[in-house]
């Protein structure tokens, strides 16, 4: 008999899916109720995810067999430390975003409230599904639920149509590659369960089909997570999506894709595979290093605030992938990568919330050139922006600093000084482009009468999420430095057999 907590992984998905269609029906009666149903559902899911994380850390991995069919025949939901951790991040960002979206979406998409929340809830279903599943085909299906909801949400604003379509075409190519990769693995092993695959694959590592499958997974998931040079859909999609959508796709959806890649790399293929084909990690590391330089430099050249953050996201996906690329040659293992999943979600989530707040205030405030005097018009949001920007510039003891610290420790241990230089370069460039924005907001004086006339904050339900995430971008850093969540990292490293230098 399963304990109630062990049934939570499947309940998280079922509740979310049920809620999506409840919203659709409730919307017929009362449009205002949609948002509250969504918030209540996500809150319930978030509490469940915390209980799951606690259970995983204290009792052990959760295995849930759908319909009682034993793996490898049935679909298995497997939640270990990494899943539970990503699940908490995703649902926390979703909660913040749902609270924020109340006023933001009423302002931006007043006629589409019902359909927005339905699709939003489906997006969350997809993200939770990718995270909890232990079956690789099931992962593909949830990945597609997540991405189709993403295409629809990005295209829900008029300016986002083209970006949404580009993302749809590229994302579908990525999904097709993943599907093809799964087909290749199935053709040689006859199994779809990730754990079973990891047992069946090692004798076949020399097989061309297995290697080709890996390349398909890498390319397909690379498109989904906007890894350089497959990021071309990403800046437009982040920049032109409605504000609340930008938050969730930048902070949560990209993390889920990265999680999926880490899962395929370490749970389906294993560290052994990476060590046999050592150039693999070198390729990932160098692509990530180029992504960091490219993303940072392009962010410097943007005058559209959300586009700047989008290019900065390209760089930060590079950070995480660089940490993944280096993980086999240090005792830190996946520590910096797993850390940055949370740190980047909090920081980039907050930045996109603030960008959305500016646009809520006045539609033309996507343009940095129109920012003079803004810091005095919106004092609290301005302060929150400065704090998050400082966290992004890696001032100790912020969340950004902790990532950089552990990344550089890892590089020094592995003897990869060039990557440490790349990271430091990126930090300097990050400082430059954030300083540019802060300069426009505070140091350039605007027209005095205009400032007096337009003084006024965004509504409370939008301001509180902004302030919470801005505070968290520092608190999270302190928590990491106090090593409170380290049991998660140790569990992840020992699960994948990392952290031991051969």
């Amino acid at each position: 008999m399963l304990s109630p907590v062990e049934q939570f992984p499947v309940l998280i998905i079922a509740i979310s899916l049920l809620s999506a269609f409840t919203i659709l029906v409730a919307g017929l009666v009362n449009k205002k109720s949609c948002c509250f149903i969504s918030i209540a559902t996500i809150l319930l899911q978030f509490v469940m995810s915390i209980v799951i994380l606690d259970h995983v850390l204290t009792v052990g991995t959760i295995h849930y067999w759908l319909g009682g069919w034993k793996p490898p025949w049935g679909i298995e939901y497997l939640v270990d430390a990494l899943n539970a951790y990503v699940l908490v991040i995703v649902l926390f960002i979703a909660l913040i975003c749902a609270i924020y979206s109340k006023r933001s979406i009423e302002h931006e998409l007043p006629h589409k409230l019902v359909s927005f929340y339905t699709v939003f809830q489906l997006l969350i279903t997809g993200m939770c599904g990718v995270t909890v599943t232990g079956d690789i085909f099931n992962m593909y299906v949830f990945l597609e639920i997540m991405c189709i909801a993403g295409y629809a949400l990005i295209a829900s604003s008029k300016i986002g149509l083209k970006a949404g379509f580009t993302y749809l075409v590229m994302g579908s190519i990525g999904a097709c590659f993943v599907l093809l990769g799964i087909g290749f693995l199935y053709s040689v092993t006859g199994s779809l369960n990730m754990h079973d695959l990891s047992l069946l694959l090692p004798p076949l590592y020399g097989n061309r089909v297995v290697q080709a499958a890996f390349v398909f997974f890498f390319t397909g998931l690379g498109i989904k997570m906007a890894f350089f040079p497959l990021h071309t859909w990403q800046p437009d999609a982040y920049a032109y999506a409605p504000s609340a959508v930008s938050v969730i796709i930048a902070a949560a959806m990209s993390k889920v894709s990265i999680y999926a890649f880490i899962r395929v790399l370490f749970s389906v293929y294993t560290v052994e595979f990476i060590q046999i084909y050592a150039p693999l990690t070198t390729v990932i590391s160098w692509l990530a290093a180029i992504a960091i330089i490219f993303g940072s430099v392009y962010a410097l050249a943007q005058y559209n605030l959300k586009r700047m953050f989008a290019y900065s996201s390209v760089a930060h996906v590079g950070y995480i992938m660089l940490a993944v690329g280096i993980c086999t040659s240090t005792t830190l293992g996946l520590t910096p990568a797993v850390m940055h999943l949370l740190n980047h979600a909090v920081m980039k989530g907050c930045l996109f919330l603030i960008a959305g707040a500016f646009i809520y205030k006045k539609a033309e405030l996507w343009d940095i050139m129109k920012f003079p005097g803004l810091g005095r018009k919106m004092p609290y949001t301005g302060i929150a922006f400065i704090f998050t920007a400082l966290a992004m510039c890696d001032i100790p003891p912020s969340a950004g600093f902790v990532t950089i610290l552990y990344l550089i420790l890892a590089f020094l241990e592995a003897g990869q000084f060039i990557f440490a230089a790349v990271i430091l370069f990126s930090v300097i460039v990050t400082f430059c482009y954030f300083f540019h924005v802060v300069e426009m907001m505070y140091l350039r004086v605007g027209v005095e009468e205009e400032i007096e006339k337009e003084r006024g904050e965004i509504p409370m339900s939008m301001l509180i999420p902004v302030l919470v995430l801005a505070a968290l971008s520092w608190i999270v850093g302190v928590i990491w430095l106090m090593k409170i969540p380290f049991p998660i990292l140790d569990a992840v490293n020992s699960m994948f057999g990392l952290g031991v230098v051969p």
Binding site: V141, I148, L161, F165, L168, S172, I173, A175, Y186, L192
Partner: protein, 132 residues
């Protein structure tokens, strides 16, 4: 030479066809300017993958596999069954493909309402004129 032809091409011709279809679809998605043609390319790509999966279920030229409805009698008569799992997977993947196509077509309709054209280059040109 003839032996090679038979072994590599004819015996595996459904795989070859699926690879060729994948490449056709992929080319259409990348190179075509018309958005509807891109979607057609996407559908060809997806269908080719379905064909690949269905080919996996096949058990070889002889003996031919039959539908996987297991009965003692048929096993006794020497029938063999095809693997049903790829069919089931593809049933799911077809649903996903239909959903993607539906969203894509809906987006093209919206794009047409917004820009009055479904040529990608013209849309990009119009966006540039609007200063985006």
């Amino acid at each position: 030479m003839i032996e090679w032809l038979v072994e590599e091409l004819l015996a595996k011709y459904n795989y070859w066809v699926s690879i060729i279809l994948i490449l056709i679809g992929f080319y259409a998605m990348i190179a075509k300017d018309n958005l509807i043609k891109k979607i057609i390319g996407l559908n060809i790509f997806q269908t080719a993958i379905f064909l690949f999966y269905i080919s996996l279920a096949d058990i070889g030229p002889l003996p031919k596999g039959t539908a996987p409805i297991v009965s003692e009698e048929m096993i006794h008569m020497g029938y063999v069954y095809v693997n049903p799992l790829p069919h089931v997977l593809i049933l799911t993947a077809i649903v996903v493909a239909v959903a993607v196509t539906a969203v894509a077509l809906a987006l093209v309709i919206r794009l047409y309402e917004e820009y009055g054209t479904i040529e990608e280059s013209e849309i990009i040109e119009l966006e540039r004129q609007r200063g985006m």
